[in-house]
């Protein structure tokens, strides 16, 4: 398959400008970056978060009145899967010290640290252990490990990249713990890219002042996830993992402390009562809500479950209106549309180009600015390439990488991406990639402090489902650092809380009943049922033939 003859013809324009651009890169010269003022202008005009259409105030709950994307507001205005008055909470199926909801990088880090503190851990997840956005993070993990760097600059880069909207205590915790988190991963046996003497290989990324991006090939997240999962499996005497068995509602006690969750076995459709002295929500992001119909880089289960459950229990959010569009999602071939092309490609020196093979932006702006610049070039300047399926794309000149760093660098530094494109007949060390922004990350979420505590005693949260660490824009490599740093902190905090002595009173779902009354009072008819757990991709034709209205529901 590969590129069509028309596209190959266009690639010649990229090749024509390449020698001069490579020379420029060798001299250390870049296309000029935007000033803070210029960034604001392009964001306002072209970033989807800044558009009025498709957003509205949420009608209920702790953040009532907050303007959110329609998809998120509708999700928060949802009702529970369970009827709170019909559940017998006196019959407890699982009794544990710490219940961890979600088994990605954050949940598994929390499980490991909580178990090290000597408490009993139950970790539940809707898919398999490790089916999470952590697994998909390609480019790397930040941490100020080098001599020319320090947590001071990690803090500055992070808060500047987030347009100074970040929650300061969380940024301080992130930049403080980051080197410790990396050392922890190294001690667990993670294979970092290193120089022969053991020095960690580091690279620049969008919005960095220092090279702070550590990686493991271009599957850093997968390497982190499989190492953490392997370690959790070694500790199965202290960590029980339930797969295909997510939490669908939080349980509180009469005093308002978090006291567990209702679990749902998706294979047998059974519900279970899990009582826990502390609960950690680590359910990840919301890309599968497909805000504004955008494609997403997220894994299959990224449906915002944790935010929905904790919101219903009374926990507000931070930065939730903000969504990250990754500037370089795949625009061609059609089979890979939406998938991530790591920022590392640009970190390694690849330029972003228009249909004429010309540069139009600094390739390493913060992600929201970079995305807005690509959208501007396509929508306003109309300088994008149109694919055979009518999608727009801009070139990412990956062959420059071998020219700058030596033959074979693309294969060595981007092995997974190389294979993924080779499957469809495209050699990315020879031909550029076609890219366009894609829905990538839930910037905001559950409000926490630096100890991962929420406003509900005994309820903790960590990772992508939380908000504030990244403000309104996340830098590359801070998400992997977020899940490790805050996953670890959540595990430590939850275990310490349990060890101080927690006495659970009578379990209750009154908060669920109360929330449903609020929905009714707000005039919300037929609220959707959430968490949705998984997206539904059936076509309209198939959905119509299921005749849901005509047939009696099986449930």
């Amino acid at each position: 398959m590969g590129y069509t003859p028309e596209m190959l013809e266009l690639i010649k324009r990229v090749e024509a400008t390449r020698p001069a651009r490579v020379e420029m890169a060798r001299r250390g010269e870049n296309f000029p970056a935007l000033s803070l003022e210029e960034r604001a202008v392009v964001l306002e005009a072209f970033h989807p978060d800044y558009q009025k259409e498709g957003r509205r105030p949420v009608k209920v709950g702790p953040d009532k009145g907050l303007v959110l994307p329609d998809e998120i507001a509708t999700m928060l205005e949802s009702r529970s899967m369970i009827r709170p008055d019909k559940v017998d909470l006196s019959h407890v199926d699982f009794d544990t010290d710490v219940l961890i909801v979600g088994a990605g990088g954050g949940g598994t880090s929390a499980a490991l640290l909580a178990s090290e503190a000597g408490v009993k851990v139950l970790m539940v997840t809707k898919l398999r252990h490790g089916d999470a956005n952590t697994m998909m993070a390609e480019g790397g993990i930040q941490g100020a490990t080098q001599e020319c760097d320090s947590p001071f600059y990690h803090y500055l880069d992070t808060i500047g990249g987030g347009h100074f909207t970040n929650q300061p205590d969380l940024v301080a915790a992130l930049s403080h713990d980051a080197p410790q988190s990396i050392a922890w991963l190294e001690s667990l046996g993670m294979m970092f890219n290193k120089l022969p003497d053991g020095r960690l290989q580091v690279r620049h990324f969008g919005g960095s002042s220092r090279k702070r991006m550590h990686s493991a090939g271009d599957m850093t997240g997968a390497e982190i996830m499989r190492v953490l999962r392997d370690e959790a499996r070694n500790r199965s005497d202290r960590i029980t993992t339930l797969e295909f068995c997510p939490a669908v509602e939080l349980i509180l006690d009469e005093e308002g402390k978090c006291a567990g969750a209702i679990l749902y076995n998706m294979e047998t459709r059974e519900f279970f009562i899990a009582r826990a002295k502390a609960v950690v929500i680590a359910t990840g992001g919301n890309g599968r809500l497909h805000i504004k119909g955008f494609a997403t880089t997220n894994h299959y289960g990224a449906t915002m479950d944790g935010v929905v459950m904790s919101y219903r229990a009374g926990v507000g959010t931070t930065c939730l209106p903000s969504t990250q569009y990754h500037p370089t999602g795949v625009a061609y071939p059609e089979q890979n549309v939406g998938l991530l092309i790591t920022e590392k490609v640009r970190g390694l020196g690849a330029h972003v180009l228009n249909i004429d093979g010309e540069q139009f932006c600094f390739p390493l702006e913060p992600r929201d600015v970079e995305s807005a610049e690509l959208i501007k070039e396509a929508v306003e300047k109309k300088k994008a390439v149109i694919t055979p399926t009518g999608r727009v794309g801009l070139w990412l000149d990956s062959p420059m990488i071998d020219l700058l760093h030596g033959e074979g660098t693309v294969r060595k530094e981007l092995p997974a991406k190389f294979i993924q494109f080779a499957r469809h007949g495209i050699d990315i060390s020879k031909h550029p990639m076609l890219v366009y922004p894609t829905l990538h990350y839930q910037n905001g979420g559950i409000a926490i402090n630096a100890n991962c505590e929420t406003v509900i005693p005994g309820l903790y949260s960590a990772g992508e489902c939380t908000g504030g660490v990244h403000g309104e824009n996340r830098l590359m490599g801070n998400s992997l650092q977020d899940v490790i740093t805050f996953g670890r902190r959540a595990g430590v905090s939850a275990a310490a809380y349990v060890k101080k002595g927690v006495e659970l009173k009578k379990l209750t779902l009154d908060h669920v009943a109360k929330y449903e009354k609020e929905l009714k009072d707000a005039g919300i008819e037929n609220p959707m049922i959430a968490p949705v757990l998984l997206p539904d991709y059936s076509t309209d034709e198939v959905a119509a033939r299921r005749k849901m209205e005509a047939m009696q529901e099986s449930e």
Binding site: E147, L188, E223, L339
Partner: protein, 264 residues
């Protein structure tokens, strides 16, 4: 159980999210899912084609991006005796392909204590004695959807070259197809995971600068700086942000130092 608001899509049919559509002029082709025929648009991946046909995955879908190992699929083509292996999220449908997903395959995994084990090949051999049941048939390599040279890394482990095995197995996504085809009943991907962790922890040199930085952090060196940053106004932060020096792109790691070193 779950419900997706499809009504918010515009009346004109466009591809939103991952929902596949039949573009104008596109052809459909027959595929056989576990022996049953479905007509699906050509050019889709197996995963999107099955969803187009009306399947909703519980098992058999994960990252949808070729890295999690949830959707290994085995298929045959019409009139062809060969078995083919691929990831459903990455493999494009072909006319008359007969396919079945194998989302899980049982494999023995040995428990170990990474802090206590001896980082030598004999440790691996003792935890997985079945390694020596390998008859070098190469079915594991043929079954790997990631193109990993499975037999080569198993051979390297048997020969005691853990570093080579760690690198050869690095692209493994632990889908289990190797184990499903193994005559010797080896759990290749679990063995490889153990080997990579031994390599990462004990064989690859440790990062000395990292160890030093961790000591500095634990000594509280940066606490006052981080406290001060948290109390700064937007304007003060913005000034510092604009004044940052940028490490040169082509400077090898560990060679460049900024002019301002007071915050290091």
């Amino acid at each position: 159980m779950s419900h997706h608001d499809s009504k918010s899509a515009s009346p004109m049919q466009v591809a939103t999210g991952d929902r596949a559509i039949l573009p104008e002029g596109a052809r459909t082709i027959p595929i056989y899912v576990m022996g049953k025929r479905y007509e699906v648009p050509e050019t889709l991946t197996i995963m999107k084609a099955m969803e187009y046909a009306g399947f909703k995955f519980l098992r058999g879908a994960g990252c949808r991006g070729g890295i999690c190992g949830a959707c290994p699929t085995v298929y045959r083509k019409e009139g062809d005796y060969k078995l083919y292996f691929g990831l459903a999220c990455q493999t494009v449908v072909e006319p008359n392909m007969y396919l079945a997903q194998i989302p899980f395959y049982p494999a023995n995994r040995a428990k170990y204590d990474i802090e206590a084990i001896s980082p030598v090949a004999e440790t691996v051999h003792a935890l997985y004695p079945e390694l020596f049941r390998c008859v070098a048939c190469n079915n594991c390599t043929k079954a790997c959807p990631m193109g990993v040279e499975v037999l080569d890394y198993i051979s390297a482990i048997k020969q005691g070259d853990l570093a080579r095995a760690a690198h050869l197995s690095f692209d493994c996504i632990q889908c289990g197809m190797c184990a499903s085809r193994c005559m010797g009943e080896l759990p290749q991907y679990h063995v490889a995971q153990l080997v990579r962790r031994i390599y990462g922890k004990y064989i690859q040199p440790r990062a000395a600068h990292l160890e030093k930085r961790v000591v500095e952090i634990e000594s509280g060196k940066y606490d006052a700086m981080l406290d001060a940053l948290q109390k700064m106004s937007h304007e003060e932060l913005e000034k510092l942000y604009k004044e940052r020096e940028r490490e040169p792109d082509m400077a090898p790691p560990g060679t460049w130092m900024p002019e301002d070193t007071q915050y290091l």
